[in-house]
Amino acid sequence: MTDRTAVAAAGSVPGPPIHDDADRRADRRDRAVALVRRSGAVVMLAVTLVAGTAGFGLNFVHPNNLLYTVAAGSAFLALVAIGMTFVIITGGIDLSVGAVLAMSAVIAAWASAQWGGIVGISFALGAAGLVGLGQGVLISMFRLPPFIVTLAGMQFARGIAFKVTDEGNQTVLIGDIGWLRWLGRGTVLGIPVPVLIALIAFAIGSLVLARTRTGQVVFAIGGSPDAASLMGLPVRRVTTSVYVWSALLAGMAGVLIAARSSTGEPTAGYGMELQAIAAVVIGGALLTGGAGKMSGTLAGVALLAVIQNLINQVGTLSQYFQDVVSGGFLLGVVLLQAGLARRRRSP
């Protein structure tokens, strides 16, 4: 058998399949469980949409509401959540995104007012990218915990945002730059530009996650970082890059917010990191890493936005009641995940 390959020879060993029917049934059940876990957000979204339509009729489903209020309002969170999905699948967390968003918004406004929109956007994204790179390097090379590093990054970026605006006393106004305003408020075929950008980012994000080698490495790092590095995968490079991309997406959201309001608010994006984490987790990603889906995140973002909208439609409920409801949702999803994970482990 000298001229046969290793693989062919191994195949010549007789023996029935190792898997039997009972295993197959268990596999099927596990896959069903996984489907519920991954697509729970989509199901919940459908339910709330139906409930909203039933309760508020045309007021709810009208494009003025769903497209120009719900979708346009959540495009910024959506961009941030795309980056957060990558970070969370690697088993990390990025608390800095809300602050990076504010920093980028302020820098974009400040630089645009002086040197024009191109420079403004470049400065804003450059600053965001630098914060992301710094965080990524500290986490991947120096092995510092992502929670602490991005907590520090959050304070740093928020500090810059306040510094640029003279501790918030000075309002930075973008001048009259038409195309910049179009980025924030314009529409293409009736779809708000920020929504369009967010959707394109989602498409690219899903493709990168599911269909590129880098995406595979992202999952492998979250599944088992040691195994990933023993398999010879570029763990450090990919870990660094997810934090860079997270910051860049937050920066992009900041630019769009500045463009929409023609001003850079240093208080923009307060708490957005937590909303983004909530959306990603509701979308079925595991905070321990290794599992998650871009479509789940999209559903998670949409679900949070629709709930807020429904509460606004009721009108008599406090704004803050939305936080209570989305907190409840988050808890429910985490409980469901824990319960399913336990069922999966038991024989």
């Binding site: 046969r4 060993v13 999952f219 195994a227 590095s229 398999m231 995968l233």
Partner: protein
Amino acid sequence: MVKSDLAPRGSGAKHDLALEVREVSKHFGGVTALDNVSFSLAPGEVRALIGENGAGKSTLIKVMTGVYRPDAGELRYLGERVELHTPRDAQDAGISTIYQEINLAPQMSAARNLYLGREPRTRLGLVDVRRMVSDAREVLSQFGVYVDPRTSLRELGMGVQQMVAVARAVTTDARVVIMDEPTSSLEPREVDRLFAVIRALRDSGVGVVYVSHKLDEVFAICDSITVLRDGKRVHDGPAAELDRLGLVGHMLGRSPEELRSAAPSRRTPVPHDSEVPALLNVQGLHRRHVLHDVSLQVRSGEVVGLAGLLGSRRSETVKAIFGALPVETGSVHIDGVELAPVTPARALAAGLALLPEDRKLEGIIPDQSIKENIVLAALPRLSRAGVVSDARRDELVEVFMRRLRIKAASPNQKVRELSGGNQQKVLLARLLCLQPRVLLLDEPTRGIDVGAKEEVRALIDELADAGLGVVLISSELEELADGADHVVVLQDGRVAGELSAGHISEGEIMTIIAHHDDQQSQVGS
């Protein structure tokens, strides 16, 4: 990168050696893990790398796979000197490794694990999922694994996961494949399949490093054997020139001749017969892949030694007796009363006490005082309504420090400041505080100096003489031959043989270890 240094793969160039390690040393702090070790592997050779705990096997593997860089010496691959900085360098060069614990991404599918980092891609540069899955299905079926490659890995059995790891390593176009205990989670049928893969690799000119402590596997598949002990190479030669006893002798550092004249036990034997009721009676402990029908009895005043090589499941056996390792079947009786089910709390209450193998990890609290460490486990017994009586505590601590001859400035000294031997005595004192009837001691003299070893051994004798039953695990044959009244030899989680008082010697223990597999295969055929 190393690639430029390498001869192009598949070129006509002939190399005498696929991989060569020349006089490599590696130190960690003050500890020497490898001392001037050389190792060579020819194309088409299957070489066993053998050694007990701490022999330096894993360090050598990590040097060969780019995880560690040697402090001295060099690595040659296909006749050229190479420097491997990362596992990736080694893989790119063609050195592929299957690690002992399955090192794959559990949440990802079998297909994705198989092709991680080298996924087939479409013209657009995207991962070609359809081709990846169909390729994976074909490759896996050739390894006897018939599962849906889209199933995530952790939903598959351990054996299947291991075969995925093997398939991944073997299909990377490697010139050298290193297998670190690849059979630890395989069924016998899967082992046969693995051996077929290894033979095919050998026939196609790939060099295989086979790490295992299962002697029958080593003699079945390997052409040559390298034995490490305490970081040094102690044997290197063809497998045909070594018999089992000789191999075990190299591993344990005892030549068979030396052993024939071993001195008799220093202990006056305690009769190990069925007339005297057993204090501890363990029957038929079984746990898949770990323990297979392990039974043993300990009588009052008796020291029962557990012998065996690394991986013989000695520690698992005592953990199972203590309830720290769940078993599928089996029973533990103390003084005729069954502990059902066995839990550590119930075992403690019944009078069992376990001294764990790794005292740093599982035992002492280094920053607390001797006093606190000793009474830690006994606190519930010393307190009334939650309040600990200081006077009673101090009295108890003083008694044990005197009885165990713990050398320390005061009971308030921190345990981290003590020598290893005295730390071990503090742990023993903690166990004795609980007034146990049976002690399970897992390597009580490991890592302590020679004088302290003697003291601990004398202490064990004293405790047995005082009527306690003792189960003693030791990797030092001498310690068992001298200090045990009865020896149970384990191999792969099975009882391979027993020796009663008067018949215990280092040579007898080694003979059982070396020939157990023979007997088993005869029985099986």
